[in-house]
């Protein structure tokens, strides 16, 4: 394909720019040449009385007149043919790149391929790509007027302009924050799960406890091989796990706009899923403006709300005496549990297109944490589930997960959180209740390792909702 130079680092298709300038210049020059030729013939006619010279003059004049008449006829015909051919090729190119663009768009949409920036959370169809010849940035390396299947960089390098020609081999960057983006952040199946909750609810301990169980045990039984996707994620994991192993809880998360923690799940030697787990500082849920920066709400697969039972007034009252002694180790969250949800809903309505009465379709796991504290296990832990199962009088054997769901929901209502439960169930279409101990025991200053309990089921439930076929065994385990 012919191309011409533009301000973009690629050459625009000849048929979308220079072709028409060339056409006009050709027409103008051809007309001028015809006039010059005719004038040349007329100038050659000698002015003489000699019959032979008169005869010769007649021939030159006839040639000049012929050039004016027939030359103009041919000029008009050639110009028309030039215009028609140019327009036909323009149409062919237009149809070609539109067809390929539609095909690629459809394919990417079906595969749910889009760019999700792990740094700033921007979502775009494709990232910006670097030319592998000169490093120039190509913002729209798509089938368009710069080329159907490939673009020519101004350095002369031919760059694939479609997914089908392995465009992903080029280094990419986020158009918004300009951080480099790995290919898998565009072309892979991904699951996006933010861990939400107020300050000191135990989100980081929950996240890394769940990842630890997934990496060390559960991934293999699900048929996956878990691997840290990048050094930053691995570094964060090693740091927190090191603390947990030495009996220290994770440090407080400071960043209200978290980078994604990426974990790759491989199956049969290929990347099956790339997990994006977000752990924002709890303070983000005290300020709707900070939540607005959580761009991942635009494409999330599900949400986990970690609830500190000690943020509930009735629980605080019940354990008032114990809390006075253990306040520094338990660090009860001071954000009422409904506040986090209210701010989240406000943000979803203001910035992410949720209507005032709309329901969030993505699954929401409500996880009551700190079940290890005092005798909370009897109310929201497995002991409470065992007791409810023993007291079951129905004809059908009950499903343990369904019973747990019921027990936790009723307990929240008993603790005076009917408004919270109603709000959650009114605005979220798919809610499930879980309980866990993100640290596994009360922090008591000892150096005994913290080992999380029951932290993985909420995450696996979300994964199962995102792809029931791939997480079939986990959905069977979580009873969905």
């Amino acid at each position: 394909m012919s191309i011409s130079a533009t301000k973009d680092p690629a050459f625009r298709s000849y048929f979308f720019g220079k072709g028409y300038r060339d056409l006009l210049a050709t027409i103008a020059e051809s007309w001028q040449r015809n006039l010059d030729s005719a004038k040349e013939f007329f100038d050659k006619a000698p002015g003489s009385d000699d019959p032979e010279e008169i005869y010769r003059s007649c021939l030159w004049i006839a040639a000049g007149v012929s050039t004016l008449i027939f030359g103009t006829v041919l000029f008009v015909a050639a110009s028309a043919l030039h215009v028609v051919l140019l327009c036909m090729v323009f149409l062919l190119v237009y149809v070609g790149f539109t067809g390929l663009w539609l095909l690629e768009r459809s394919y990417l949409a079906i595969r749910s391929f889009f760019m999700a920036c792990p740094h700033c959370h921007a979502r775009t169809t494709i990232p910006e790509y670097f030319c592998d010849g000169c490093g120039a940035i190509h913002a729209r390396l798509l089938p368009n007027s710069y080329g159907i299947a490939s673009h020519i960089c101004q350095c002369g390098k031919e760059l694939p302009a479609t997914f089908f020609l392995d465009r992903g081999r080029l280094q990419a960057r986020c158009p918004q924050c300009h951080e480099n983006i790995a290919r898998e952040h565009v072309e892979s199946r991904r699951i996006f799960v933010p861990i939400m909750g107020g300050p000191s609810a135990g989100k980081s301990a929950f996240l890394f406890g769940a990842v630890r169980q997934l990496v060390d045990h559960e991934a293999g039984s699900l048929g996956f091989r878990a691997e840290f996707f990048d050094k930053r994620s691995e570094g964060a994991y090693r740091g927190v796990v090191g603390l947990l192993e030495s009996g220290r809880p994770p440090d407080k998360t400071r960043d209200p706009i978290p980078r994604a923690f990426n974990l790759a799940l491989h199956k049969n030697g290929r990347l099956a899923f790339l997990l994006y787990l977000y752990d924002p500082a709890g303070e983000a849920y005290q300020d709707a403006d900070k939540l607005a920066a959580h761009g991942f709400h635009d494409y999330l697969s599900g949400m986990i709300l970690v609830v500190d039972p000690f943020a509930i007034l009735a629980v605080r009252s019940r354990y008032e005496g114990e809390l006075k002694r253990e306040c520094s180790s338990l660090k009860p969250s001071d954000l009422p549990i409904e506040d986090a949800v209210d701010r989240l809903l406000l943000t979803l309505e203001a910035d992410f297109g949720l209507s005032k009465r709309g329901r969030v379709k993505q699954p929401l796991a409500i996880v009551l944490n700190k079940v290890d504290a005092f005798d909370l296990n009897d109310f929201i832990g497995e002991a409470a589930v065992d007791r409810a199962l023993a007291a079951w009088t129905g004809s059908q054997p009950p499903d343990r997960d369904a019973v747990r769901n019921m027990v936790l929901r009723e307990q929240l209502v008993d603790w005076g959180e009917q408004a919270f439960v109603s709000r959650i169930e009114g605005r979220f279409g798919n809610v499930r209740y879980f309980s866990c101990s993100a640290l596994g025991r009360m922090p008591d200053g000892s150096r005994t390792e913290f080992t999380a309990r029951e932290v993985l089921p909420p995450l696996l439930w979300i994964f199962g909702q995102a792809d029931s076929a791939s997480f079939a065994s986990s959905t069977a385990r979580t009873g969905t």
């Binding site: 050459f11 050709t26 051809s30 040639a63």
Partner: protein, 61 residues
């Protein structure tokens, strides 16, 4: 006498026809040669203009 007049008339008609036919043929030949000359010059001029103006702008790869 009458047959002579008829003969002259026929001769005149034939001569006129011949002259007209020769003129038409001359005009046709003139137009043909003219179109060849004029069209040829026009064609060459368009080709020269095309060659001078139509070119891709891209670096050698």
């Amino acid at each position: 006498m009458a047959s002579d007049d008829v003969g002259v008339a026929i001769g005149a008609i034939l001569l006129s026809g011949l002259i007209i036919a020769a003129s038409v043929i001359a005009v046709i030949i003139g137009l043909g040669v003219g179109s060849l000359v004029g069209g040829g010059v026009g064609f060459i001029n368009y080709c020269k203009s095309f060659r001078a103006n139509v070119r891709r702008e891209r670096p050698g790869v």
